[in-house]
């Protein structure tokens, strides 16, 4: 299942979403399978959730069901049961193989209100010209140093083409668009922002509004994520 996390609901944490999905599944009457054992849990697995505060048009999860279900019906029923802002976009019947493995990269959009476009252009150029850009982030294991450059497949300043779905704050802003490979340690959009500051002193005046636009296997031709469901859909319409 592909779903979106939009608008105010971008402030949900991964745990918030999993609780909401479990309840929505029950309300929607989807025959979810449960794990065996003393304290059975619904079989729902989440692949690489976007961080709290980051919106997304491309989040993925898998639901184990105890009998065959019509994917279109699951999409409609579950969407109706989830709060507005957690929106089910696409449901397919999974074939063999691991969905999480197919999510190789993400396209991110960063909106930077009040930032200077020329400075952004210059910073992007310097960042792309570098081989390595060491950044630091506080993780659960303490402060960690890692390279934010190699995972970045593309990075560009793009033209403002209006307001993305669900965004409520309207301000003139610089927009960065990037494709980042999922690696360990994960390079997040804010790591790239820190990289821009380190290489070119680029410091936007207010926090970035970040949206994940797509996730999937990296298409070598386009340099963009392809549809991760292509494999499942190729199984033919039943």
């Amino acid at each position: 299942m592909r779903y979106a996390k939009r608008g105010r609901l971008r402030f949900t944490s991964h745990r918030d979403i999993s609780r909401a999905v479990e309840r929505a599944v029950r309300r929607a009457g989807i025959p979810v399978a449960y794990s065996a054992g003393f304290s059975p849990h619904p079989k729902i697995s989440y692949a690489g959730a976007a961080p709290t505060g980051v919106a997304s048009e491309a989040e993925y999860l898998e639901i184990g069901v105890s009998r065959p279900c019509d994917p279109r019906r699951v999409r409609d029923d579950l969407d109706a049961s989830l709060p507005p802002g957690l929106d089910v976009l696409d449901v397919v019947e999974a074939r063999d193989g691991n969905l999480a493995d197919r999510l190789e990269c993400s396209t991110w959009e960063l909106r930077l209100p009040g930032a200077d476009p020329a400075e952004a252009e210059r910073a992007v150029k310097e960042f792309l010209a570098a081989d390595r850009v060491e950044v630091e982030r506080l993780t659960k294991k303490g402060m960690r140093r890692f390279d934010a450059r190699q995972a970045v497949r593309s990075l560009a300043v793009v033209e403002d083409r209006g307001i993305p779905a669900g965004q409520e704050t309207v301000q003139p802003c610089v927009i960065l668009r990037m494709v980042v490979r999922h690696e360990t340690p994960a390079v997040r959009p804010d790591d790239v922002l820190m990289g821009l500051r380190l290489v070119a002193g680029f410091a936007p005046p207010s926090p970035a509004a970040v949206t994940r636009l797509a996730q999937g296997p990296l298409d070598a031709m386009t340099g963009e994520p392809a549809d991760p469901f292509a494999f499942d859909r190729a199984g033919g319409d039943r």
Partner: protein
């Protein structure tokens, strides 16, 4: 005049705070009504963090009832954590409702539900952030009426200066009546400003307006009298009692948050009130008489609530859930209905003597075994007679043996420390009791793999109870006894490792005692604590006993009273108590007699199954006990 959403100004602050989802609203079943189409607008506040406040039944019930009324809307607001408070101050964002992020000051009424006195400082934060003057006397027609409810409102005197009004008792009907008074007054063009509105509310007899009453003191600090200071204001204000809970089946549509909260379940109140007569229990005294919800209404509410919420646990709430006259049929009927559906049942309050094997089996039918907590409250037979907790050691052993034999490996036992007449050996008796529990459990199961946890807190004397005259035990004595109990439990080689021990130290109880039995002079202490940074006093990481004591010393410097005077001092029969003009229906002479009975270890039976003992509530309030059995059963749900 429309009021704009503050969300665009709040949104940039949210990435900088912990758990931002708690501030965005949008819960399932929340309601956003059109601002301009309403004439009566309520902001309902639970003065604690969202994770505690959201599940609160009282707020959810009133929210739903008010939003069902035409021309009326209700939105919710909660205490913001200090990280957001600091940002709101620096960015000038006022206190907001989570439903549509409107400024609290734009509402007609700010209704605050006080389950505990430890929310008082959070009230001041919310008022201040809202731009509402802290003292009622400084407010203008542009400010909402600040109205308190909840159990702590049975003595609102410590916060009287900050309140415009308070209501006692069940809120369902009085919020509708208040809305109607407000609507009429607005329709007439708001004659006489807020003073006339308050006068209309006060003269109805069901709303307490503190500023219409003067408190006079004796030179030694005791209260001389509390009297109305204008005509048309009643000398006494009475509590409200909803009769026939089947007519008020709320919440119908429980709020389901995205954020994690303290209770993740659908709760149904299966009855209200309790007449067991435990003398320490304010809830039992002020919510009389017992009014049961019928088995069929409970079944309907659970069915609809599960469907509306998607929760997987159902809590059957009341002050003593196993006392419902048809509890066996309710639990069996629900367990039958939800067999195999992963829906668990829990009874959050179960009396030691009302638990039995059938109940144990129904609660564990769906595979889940929620924790079992029993509350003997007192460690010795004598102590339990003083507090009228009519539970014997045999009852407790029989009950825990049932639980252990039916697969529970752990039970929790709750006690209090610092009860009137308590001696060291009463508390040490808890250790003996816990050992007997483990011994009986090992014998019943043939296994050493069983545990019990002793949980113990400090006793706080509460208004409208027989212990309202009692001296609160000082925190040094409470702490000494708690340590002695810990040592007695830990030093036991045979049983010590099977017994867990959790306790709360005695200092917070002293502050709770000050706020519980305080009068209007305590308001200065609350304000001083708040000005010194006091917030979230119910949270141990935020609470500071030293701050409270220092503030009390400063604020009460010119008064003949101090913290000890309010807490550890015993009152005599004829002293005017700060809440004597607020009537819970309890006959004062009966309360005093019950206090004397406590000192003489004389017990009182429950009036549900023995003759009336004249506590006074039913004749005073025009109410009666409403209990089953109805003889009805829950039928299987029809699958469509």
């Amino acid at each position: 005049m429309s009021v704009e959403s503050l969300f665009p100004r709040l949104e940039p602050l949210l990435p900088k705070v912990q758990k931002p989802i708690q501030y965005v609203g949008g819960e399932l079943n929340s309601t956003v009504k059109d601002w301009d189409e309403a004439t009566v607008r309520w902001a309902l506040m639970y003065p604690d963090a969202y994770e505690v406040g959201l599940p609160n039944q009282g707020v959810q019930i009133l929210y739903e009832i008010l939003n069902e009324l035409p021309e009326t809307l209700a939105e919710r607001t909660y205490a913001v954590w200090p990280d957001l408070e600091a940002l709101m101050r620096s960015e000038g964002v006022p206190q907001f409702t989570v439903d549509s992020h409107r400024p609290v000051r734009a509402f007609d009424i700010l209704g605050v539900s006080f389950a505990t006195e430890l929310g008082y400082t959070n009230l001041l934060t919310a008022l201040d952030l809202a731009g509402i003057p802290l003292e009622a006397a400084d407010r203008t027609d542009e400010d909402p009426i600040v109205l308190a409810g909840g159990h702590a409102a049975f003595n609102p005197e410590p916060i009287a200066d900050f309140l415009d009004a308070a209501v006692l008792g069940d809120g369902e009907q009085i919020v509708i009546a208040i809305s109607e008074v407000l609507r009429e007054w607005k329709a007439e063009g708001s004659p006489g400003g807020r003073d006339e509105l308050l006068m209309r509310l006060a003269s109805s007899g069901g709303v307490y307006v503190p500023k219409f009453y003067d408190v006079e003191y004796h030179p030694d600090g005791r209260i001389k009298r509390v009297v109305p200071n204008r005509d048309g204001v009643p000398a006494r204000v009475f509590k409200h009692t909803v009769m026939d809970l089947d007519e008020w089946p709320y919440p119908k549509k429980p709020l389901v948050p995205l954020a994690e909260t303290v209770h993740e379940r659908f709760s149904v109140e299966i009855f209200r009130g309790c007449t067991r007569g435990c003398r320490f229990c304010q809830a039992g005294m002020i919510t009389r008489p017992v009014r049961e919800r019928s088995i069929t209404t409970i079944g309907d509410m659970v069915e609809a609530g599960i469907k509306e919420s998607g929760f997987s646990e159902v809590g059957l709430l009341s002050l003593s859930s196993a006392d419902h006259s048809e509890i066996a049929d309710i639990t069996k009927g629900l367990a039958d209905r939800y067999e195999g559906s992963q829906i668990g049942l829990s009874l959050p309050s179960t009396r030691v003597d009302a638990f039995n094997i059938d109940l144990a089996n129904e609660l564990s039918r769906n595979g889940r075994r929620s924790g079992l907590t029993f509350a003997p409250e007192g460690g010795s037979e004598r102590m339990r007679k003083v507090i009228n907790k009519m539970v014997t050691e045999e009852d407790l052993i029989r009950t825990v043996t049932t639980a252990y034999s039916n697969g529970w490996r752990q039970v929790k036992l709750y006690f209090m420390c610092g009860l009137p007449t308590e001696e060291d050996e009463d508390v040490l008796g808890i250790a003996d009791l816990a050992k007997k529990v483990i011994k009986a459990g090992r014998e019943a199961t043939g296994s050493r793999d069983i545990r019990c946890t002793v949980s113990i807190g400090g006793f706080v004397p509460k208004p409208h109870t027989p212990f309202q005259w009692a001296a609160q035990c000082d925190h040094e004595t409470v702490d000494r006894r708690l340590r002695a109990l810990r040592d007695a439990l830990r030093s036991d080689k045979e049983y010590g490792r099977a017994i867990g021990y959790r306790y709360h130290d005695g200092k917070p109880s002293i502050v709770e005692g000050l706020l519980s039995r305080g009068d209007r002079r305590v308001g200065k202490v609350i304000r001083a604590v708040w000005e010194d940074g006091g917030r979230f006093d119910g949270w141990s990481e935020h609470f500071s006993f030293e701050r409270w004591m220092a503030a009390a010393e400063r604020a009460l410097a010119d008064e003949p009273v101090d913290v000890d005077w309010y807490t550890t001092r015993e009152r005599d029969e004829h002293e005017v108590l700060p809440w004597d003009h607020l009537d819970a229906g309890l006959d004062r002479e009966w309360l005093w007699q019950d206090w004397q009975d406590a000192l003489n270890t004389v017990e009182v039976e429950d009036c549900r199954w023995s003759p009336c003992y004249d506590c006074g509530v039913c004749p005073t309030m025009g109410t009666e006990i409403q209990i089953g059995p109805t003889g009805r059963k829950l039928l299987p749900l029809t699958v469509i």
